[in-house]
Amino acid sequence: MPLLCVENLCIGYHTKKGLLKAVEGVSFSLEAGSSLGLVGESGCGKTTIGMALMGLLPPNGAISEGRILLDGVDLAQLSEEELRQVRWRDVAMIFQAAMNALNPVQRVSWQMTEAISTHRPELSKDELLRQVEGLFQLVGLPLARLHDFPHQYSGGMKQRAIIAMALALNPKLIIADEPTTALDVVVQDQILKETKALQEQFNMGIIFISHDISIVAEVCHHIGVMYAGQLVESGSTDQVFYAPRHPYTQALVNSFPTLTGEKKKLTPIPGEPPNLIGTIPGCRFCDRCPRSEAFCKLEPPQWQEVEAGHRVLCDHC
C-alpha cells in the first residue's frame, strides 16, 4: 500500500466573488521513500494541496470532496485535535517563507526543544537537547550555533534549522513548499542535495512543491504537473520532462532556459491562466494551447495512459 494516496481531491475557497475551486479532482499516490514534485504556475493549486495535506487550509478554504489517505487514515475526515497529533509527527512541512517561520526573540535551541516536547512530553530536558544536537549534525549546522538567535543565522542556516525541525519527530512524509526560493544557487544546491540524502537515509516520502522545473527535476523521482487546479500530467521524472505529452508540460519545458546542450530559442506560453471562479466546461488549457480544437472547449478531457505510469489529461495524446 502506498504511503500517501490522494483520491479525487477538491478544495474550494469562499471568496467575495464566489467559490474559487483551487483544486479539482486531483489524484496521486506516493510510496514511502520516494519523492513527488508538484510543479505549476502560482495559483495552480500546488500550495493549496500542501496545506490540505497538513490540515492547515485557511479559514475560508475547505475540502469539498475526495480523500487523503496517509497509511490508510483519511486526513480529510480527522478532527482538528486529531490533525494536531498527525501534524509534525507524521507529516511535516518546510514552508515557503521559512525565513519567517522562526521566532526572532527565542533561541533556536529553545524553539526546537519546545516543538519536540509538545509531541514527546515524556522526554527530559537533557534528552531533548541531545536530540536537537543530533538533528543539527544531521542537517550540517555547527553545534556552536545551537544557542544563537535566528537573526544570527544566514538564510541557508535558517532553512537548515527549519529542515531539522521538520525531521525532529521522524515524520513519514515531508512537504517542502518552495524551500529554496529565496536562497542563492550555491546554497540552494547544498540544501537540495542534503534533503535528497536525508530522504534516502530515513526512507521518507517527500512532496516537493515548486514553480521551477529544473529544481524538481533534480530532486524528485516522480512529477505531477498542475495547471489551473488540475493535475494534467504525471509520471516519472524522465517520462514527464524528457517525453512530455501534455501541451502545457511541453510549453513549460520549451520556455525554460538551460545551461547545457544546444542553445535553442525559447517559446513563451501565450496568455494567462483562467479564472477559477465559476465552472469551466472543457479543457482548462485550451485558450493557450497550440493544438486545441473546437471540442476541447466543450468537453472535459479524459486521462490517457501513454506509457506505464505516465498519464496525461489530454484528448490529443
Binding site: S35, E41, S42, D184, V185, V186, Q188, D189, Q190, L192, K196, E200, H211, D212, I213, S214, I215, A217, E218, V219, C220, H221, S236, T237, D238, F241, Y242, A251, L252, S255, F256, P257, T258, L259, T260, G261, K263, L266, T267, P268, I269, E272
Partner: protein, 353 residues
C-alpha cells in the same frame, strides 16, 4: 594591490565604469560604535559595447544590483567614474541629469513593488514622457498604446485604464518594461526582471528584452543570478563576487568553458535541466569556508578548493587570458587546460537516484 581593469577591448563602447567603488556604512549602536563598512563594489571596471546584451551575474550581496543602481544614478559611487559615450556622468546635476534620464532607463526586480498601486497603467507608462516633457501631451495616449503593443499587451486599449493589482505578475513586468522603453533609451538596465515571476513568464520577458534590442537598438544590461538565463539572453557576461569582478567574456564561452573557480562553482550549483550526457563537475567550492589570512589576497580564497595558501591568500590575482575575449581573475587560469580542466562528467543528474 588593487584590481586592474580587465584587458578587453570593446569597439564602440557606450558605457564605461572606471574603478567604481561603493561602500555602505551600517549603523552602529547608540554610541556610534559597531558600525561596519561594507564594500558593495570594489573598484569595478567594465566597458559595455553599443547594442550588446551584457549580463552581470552574481549571488545576492555580490554588488550586481548596486552596479545597476549606480548606472541609472539612483546612487552615486564613492570612488571612480562612470562614462556614457565618453562623457563623465558620475555627478551630473539639474538639466543634464534630466537629459541623462531620457537615455538610461531601468526595469526593476519586483513588478509587484515597482508600479505605484494608485496609478493607472496609462499614467504609469506615460510618466517618463510627462516628466521629461517629450513631445505633445495630446499624443501621449497614442504613444502609450504603441508601447503596450510592443511589449505584447494587446489589445492595449484593454489595459491602459487598469490598475496594477488587476494584472498578473508577468503583465505587470511588461508594463514596467513599456514604461522604461517609452522614452526610447539607448541603455536599459534590467535588474533581475524575472526572479519574482513564475518560470513560465520568464521566456516572455526575455523575448521582449531581445525585441527591444532588435527594434530600438538599445543596449541592455541584464542583471541576474541565473547563468541559464544569462546564457540565453546575453552576448557577454561578467561574473562578480563580493563586489569584485571575477571573470568576463562571451556568454557561451564563459558558461561552456569557465576558467574562474567561482564561475565553475556557480555552474556546478545550477540545477541542470535537459539531456546532460557530459556535464562537467568542477568541484571548486570548499564546503566549509576557511579563514582569510590577509585582506590583500584573492577575494574568493576562503571558499576556493584550488587555492594555494601562500599565493592566493597574500596577493591579489592578475587578469589571466582564459579564451578568446575571455579573462579570469585567478592565479591559475589558463586558456586551455590547467585550472579549467573539468572532472570526468557525472552521469546525468536528472532523474534522481
Amino acid at each position: 594591490m588593487s584590481p586592474q581593469p580587465p584587458p578587453i577591448n570593446v569597439t564602440d563602447p557606450i558605457l564605461a565604469l572606471e574603478r567604481v567603488s561603493r561602500i555602505y556604512f551600517t549603523k552602529g549602536n547608540i554610541f556610534g560604535r559597531g558600525g561596519q563598512r561594507v564594500v558593495a563594489l570594489n573598484q569595478l571596471s567594465l566597458t559595455i559595447g553599443r547594442g550588446e546584451v551584457f549580463g552581470l551575474v552574481g549571488e545576492s550581496g555580490s554588488g550586481k544590483t548596486t552596479a545597476g543602481r549606480l548606472i541609472v544614478r539612483l546612487e552615486e559611487p564613492d570612488e571612480g567614474t562612470i562614462r556614457l559615450e565618453g562623457k563623465d556622468i558620475t555627478h551630473l546635476k539639474g538639466r543634464q541629469m534630466r537629459d541623462y534620464r531620457r537615455r538610461v532607463q531601468m526595469v526593476f526586480q519586483d513588478p509587484y513593488q515597482s508600479l505605484n498601486p494608485q496609478v493607472s497603467i496609462a499614467d504609469s507608462v506615460a510618466e517618463p514622457l510627462i516628466t521629461n516633457r517629450i513631445g505633445d501631451p495630446r499624443d501621449y495616449l497614442q504613444r502609450v498604446l504603441e508601447v503596450l503593443n510592443t511589449v505584447g499587451l494587446s489589445p492595449a486599449e484593454d489595459f491602459v485604464y487598469r490598475f496594477p493589482h488587476q494584472l498578473s505578475g508577468g503583465q505587470r513586468q511588461r508594463v514596467a518594461i513599456a514604461r522604461a522603453i517609452v522614452v526610447q533609451p539607448g541603455l536599459l538596465v534590467a535588474d533581475e526582471p524575472t526572479s519574482m515571476l513564475d518560470a513560465s513568464y520568464s521566456a516572455q520577458i526575455f523575448d521582449i528584452l531581445l525585441g527591444v534590442r532588435g527594434q530600438m537598438g538599445a543596449t541592455i544590461i541584464f542583471i541576474t543570478h541565473s547563468l541559464a538565463a544569462a546564457r540565453y539572453l546575453c552576448d557577454r557576461i561578467a561574473v562578480i563576487y563580493h563586489g569584485h569582478l571575477m571573470e568576463i567574456g562571451p556568454a557561451a564561452s564563459v558558461i561552456a568553458n569557465p576558467k574562474h573557480p567561482y564561475t565553475q562553482a556557480l555552474i556546478d550549483a545550477t540545477p541542470k535541466f535537459g539531456r546532460c550526457e557530459a556535464v562537467p563537475v568542477y568541484g571548486t567550492l570548499l564546503s566549509a569556508p576557511r579563514e582569510a589570512a590577509d585582506l590583500a589576497g584573492c577575494p574568493f580564497f576562503p571558499r576556493c578548493r584550488r587555492a594555494e595558501r601562500l599565493l592566493c591568500s597574500r596577493s591579489y590575482p592578475d587578469w589571466h587570458p582564459a579564451g578568446p575575449e575571455q579573462v579570469a581573475l585567478c592565479h591559475f587560469a589558463q586558456p586551455d587546460h590547467g585550472a579549467g580542466a573539468p572532472a570526468p562528467g557525472e552521469a546525468c543528474r536528472l532523474g534522481g537516484a
